[in-house]
Amino acid sequence: MYSIGIDSGSATTKGVLYDGEKIIDKVIVPTGANPRRAMEAIYDKLYRENAYTVTTGYGRALLKVADKQVTEITCHGKGAAFLDNQISAIIDIGGQDSKVILLDRDKNIKDFLMNDKCAAGTGRFLEVIMRLLQEDLCDFDDYVSGASGTKISSMCAVFAESEVVSLLAQDVSGPSVAMGIIESISQRTANFAKKLPIDGKVFFSGGLAQIESIRKTMEKELGLEMTTHEDAQFAGAIGAAVIGYQHMSRK
């Protein structure tokens, strides 16, 4: 028995094939302008006869052959708990939004918060600033190594951008500005997360999670241990596959 989980995100679409114990295959493709086609391509690649397919993410309604749709919140929670069963919460900083998910003892979703109104708490903010600094996000750890952050006081990504321009004009170094942005995103995210009774070990996912210096800053702001996993970006798809498998075995 197999299940397929497909997560249609705004930037990339991810899919995994699951056999009830482990992930046996995974695929990631850019979503591009046609999320439906991206999902179909993944489905074709992972196809197994009678596999139960669950879709999640923004485009979850688009794949006609899917057996079930589940929201990204539920899938993300399940998937993260699959990758690390010691966690009790998840913080995800995505390109478009950020979310905080609390799990109960049985790793079901207990509560969640979503922020999709403000760019300053998302990966988009860092992206914009890095473009301004003409630096690549991939080498971020090297770039900021040893730098201490400059305080960025603007509450809004658009104003912060002009604040950064004037900081650079005052000869504040690029790495120090970049660290300042990270501290600002981390503070904002930590304050947001603390609206829920967050505790225990926290799973960090989203594009920024793989960057060591960002995870460290988040840990400091939150005052809790944070872990991640190399497959963190597949958490949604994994959760979808796990839910699909449970559904299938219950029948």
């Binding site: 929201t71 990204e72 919140i73 539920t74 079901n108 979703i109 979503m114 999709d116 109104k117």
Partner: protein, 384 residues
Amino acid sequence: MTIRKDLPSIFDDFSEARRNGFMAAKNFKETDRPMIGTFCTFMPQEIPLAIGAATVSLCATSDETIEAAEKDLPRNLCPLIKSSYGFGKTDKCPFFYFSDLVVGETTCDGKRKMFEMMGEFKPVHVMQLPQGPDQQHAHLVWKDEIILLKETIEKQFNVTITEEQIKETISIKNRERKALKEFYELGKLNPPAISGMDILKVLYGSTFKFEKEDTINELTELTARVKEEYVAGKKLESKPRILVTGCPIGGVTDKLVKAIEDNGGVVVFYENCMGAKAIEDLVDESNEDVYDALAEKYLKIGCSCMSPNKARFEMLGRAIDEFQVDAVVEAVLQACHTYAIETATVKDFVNNKKNKPYISVETDYSTSDIGQLNTRMAAFIEML
């Protein structure tokens, strides 16, 4: 005499009421009776009703005139205030147009200052709503304000309002409240008899019907019909039962109810202003002092503008138990401070005193957040 219609078409009649409200308002005015525009459930309808006037809610629920309003008002203001002001200013709202007098209250900061500006182009009477609803002095102030409203109306329409007339309208309003209450208490049925959307259609639509006796009869008949069919076996599937609370919703905010019911829940109770908030408590008909009785009833409304606001939590607690609620959804309009701040207390109350899940969503009068609302509601209901 009445042609028996099927339930869905009765529900649609109610939701048509607002659309047809324009004609109803016009017909009403042609009978030479005044129309009073209101913004809030604190307004004691018994007073205008005593001169045979109709009251109509001017709380706009569409973003059509927000741009026009932003010429005068700050951007970062609740959409209800902006759009209501905008409809008044642009004269696009027929109800506003037909209103001979607009009555406002000093509820939230945004509204009270907006009324001052509205007074520039429309006859506006503002009632000074006191704080501390349990205090004796608040009661006296509010009673005085009700008498002042009576005097304003007497002067403007050149009539005298007697206490006998008010007694009569108190009794009519009480009967209307009872009819509405019996209707929304259908929400107690488990499995449900009707959807939350149908409940909303009726609650919202009934505020645009101007002949009270007719409305009472229609409501009573409707409730009886639903019960009859329920007994005969017409039941809906059991689903997680949701209580909706927060800012006034209706009109465009249908989108929230739709998001809940499209994603596997059913709304069984509305605590907001469109719902039970102002309907639950009756005016004491045994009190000989009508103004005293009115002041007592209206100060009991559990609005977040009030401090302290114990009444809201009493009603929430009772409704969660009596309607066998599984979870609470709160809608907060963008930039509404009082409700936004109170979400923390409501969440704590619902999670920790009632042990039920709670979610609050911020929304506005646009349709741009329907996708996000759907995801949030679906995830919330998956959690139950």
